[in-house]
Structures are given as structure tokens and as C-alpha cells.
Symmetry: C2
Subunit: 172 residues, 2 copies
């Protein structure tokens, strides 16, 4: 019951594009470096995402990838489904596949899988790339604040130590 790397890497790649496309098309090479994913593998994921209308490519020199819709109009579910196919715990509850099984009228476990499928899609569709971008910026900002605070603490501690030493010296 796991996502494959396609879905995980792919979402990170799309978020990376969202965060960096202001400075022009985002190249596979640069995503690869920032995200630590092989260029060759990334290439396949991005082609799939393009074919599914999530991103758009600009070919040739100074080309790269940009989002094909606004961040608010791309959900996490869109990205995952593009790369992994339908999000569903079993085949028989995928849309348009009720014919897969001839025991539908007897099967009760199917009801559970159907509810699970809905819940999964609901969670993933409730987050847009816009949300992820905001979350990222908040986290990064807080992280910077923490870093700064840690530095200040560090400086203060050193200051205390030093001033005490000096006071000691003065007192002495």
C-alpha cells in the first residue's frame, strides 16, 4: 500500500518547478541537483507529467519546464494520478471498472475499498500546489527564524561568557 518513487519524486519535481519558474523555464538538470534525483529518471517522470497536462515544456536552448496551469489549479491528486494511475486500493472500485468483478452484488469488502478510495482521493485533492508552496515558504521562513534565533542565543551565550570573564577581570 505504498506510493512508488514516481509519485513521490514527481510531486517534489512539480513543487520544485512551482518554486523556481519565476526565473524562467526550469531545467531537468537543475531539478536533479536540488532534489537529488537522477536526470535520466526525472526525464521520464516529467515527460509523463507533460503528457498529462500538468507541466509544459519549452524545447531547445534555454528551455525547460513550467507549470501548465496556475498553482491553485493543480492538486496533489492530479500529480499523483498522472504518474501512478488511478488512486485506488483495488481495481474493482476504479471509475468505469465495475465490470472487473462479477461478485459485486455479493461482495461486501468492496464497499470498504470504495470508501477507502474516496477518502484517499479526497485528501490528495484537497491540497493544491499553491498550498504546498505556501507551506514550504512558511517552513523555510520558520527554519530561518530558528537558525537566526539559534545564532542569537549562541552570540548571547558567548557574550555572557565573555562579559563574565571581563567582569571577573575587572573585579579581580
Amino acid at each position: 500500500m505504498k506510493l512508488s518513487t514516481k509519485g513521490r519524486y514527481g510531486l517534489r519535481a512539480v513543487l520544485d518547478i512551482a518554486l523556481n519558474q519565476d526565473e524562467g523555464p526550469v531545467t531537468i538538470h537543475s531539478i536533479s541537483e536540488r532534489q537529488g534525483i537522477s536526470e535520466r529518471y526525472l526525464e521520464q517522470l516529467l515527460i509523463t507529467l507533460r503528457k498529462n497536462g500538468i507541466i509544459r515544456s519549452i524545447r531547445g536552448f534555454q528551455g525547460g519546464y513550467v507549470l501548465n496551469r496556475e498553482t491553485k489549479d493543480i492538486s496533489v491528486g492530479d500529480v499523483v494520478r498522472a504518474l501512478e494511475g488511478p488512486i485506488s486500493p483495488v481495481e474493482c472500485v476504479e471509475e468505469g471498472r465495475s465490470g472487473v468483478c462479477n461478485r459485486i452484488d455479493i461482495c461486501v469488502t468492496r464497499n470498504i475499498w470504495e470508501e477507502l478510495r474516496k477518502a484517499m482521493n479526497q485528501v490528495l485533492d484537497s491540497y493544491s500546489l499553491e498550498d504546498l508552496v505556501r507551506m514550504f515558504k512558511e517552513k523555510n521562513c520558520n527554519k530561518n527564524k530558528e537558525d537566526i534565533n539559534n545564532n542569537i542565543d549562541h552570540i548571547n551565550n558567548n557574550f555572557d561568557i565573555n562579559i563574565n570573564k571581563k567582569i571577573d577581570l575587572i573585579i579581580d
Copy 2:
């Protein structure tokens, strides 16, 4: 993002036991026949379920399997987790595995996976075997009612046809 046959077959097997254990321990052979799952494969699943405390075995002649707890105290989640391991879209949000990834404080996709994990477990834990048994009986009952109604309709139709024929004869 699919369950394996372990989880699907296993849940059906456990439900089968729940439905049939009133007449004594349920044998692998009988589950295999009713559910259309190979005895040998079923055997492995049932051993796993026994080791996880879901079912209990009675060995020897006229042995078989019974549930180890009441139906209301066994959730679908219990069964699936016993057979498939933790229900989680990615490793890094499984309980006690936050150390898997060193990017937790930067990673925002993780937040999504964590919420997805919770939602999945919540759905599966909200259904007990008791619920499944009730659902099964309702479905079966309705199915029988339908069958009976269909039969009655059929008989009525034939009666109409026949009575009309007779009336025609009389009129003639």
C-alpha cells in the same frame, strides 16, 4: 497504490470464518472452496493472521480456524495491517520511523503523506468484522428478496399469459 492479494484474500478469509464458525472450526479446505483461493496460499495467509492474534487454530482431526476475538473487536485495519504491514503511503510517516529521512524539517510533501496515512487508517479502523457480517447478511437478504420478487414476477407474468390464453379460449 494497491493492496496486494494478501490483504484482499485475507479479509475475505476472515469474514468467511466469521460467517461460518458457528458450526465449528472452519477448515482451510472449506474457505478455499467458498472463496476460490488456493488452499496452499490461503494456508500462509491464515498462519500470518494467527501469529498476529486475529484468528486461532484448532489442530488435528475436525480442526480448523476460529476468530481469536469477537467480531466487534476486530477491525478491517487490524486484518490488513496483519497481512500487509503498516498502512502508509510512504515509509517516512510510519510510526517510529521518522528517522528514515533527514529532510523532515524542510519536506512539505511529508505533511500530505502523513494526513493521507491517517485518513486511510481511519477508514479501515472504522469498520469491524461485525459490520461486515451485518452488511453481508443485509446484502444477501436483499438479494434473496430480489430473487423471490423476480420469481413472483415471473410466475405472475406466466399466470397472466396463461389466464389470458384461457380467457381467449373461453371468449372464442
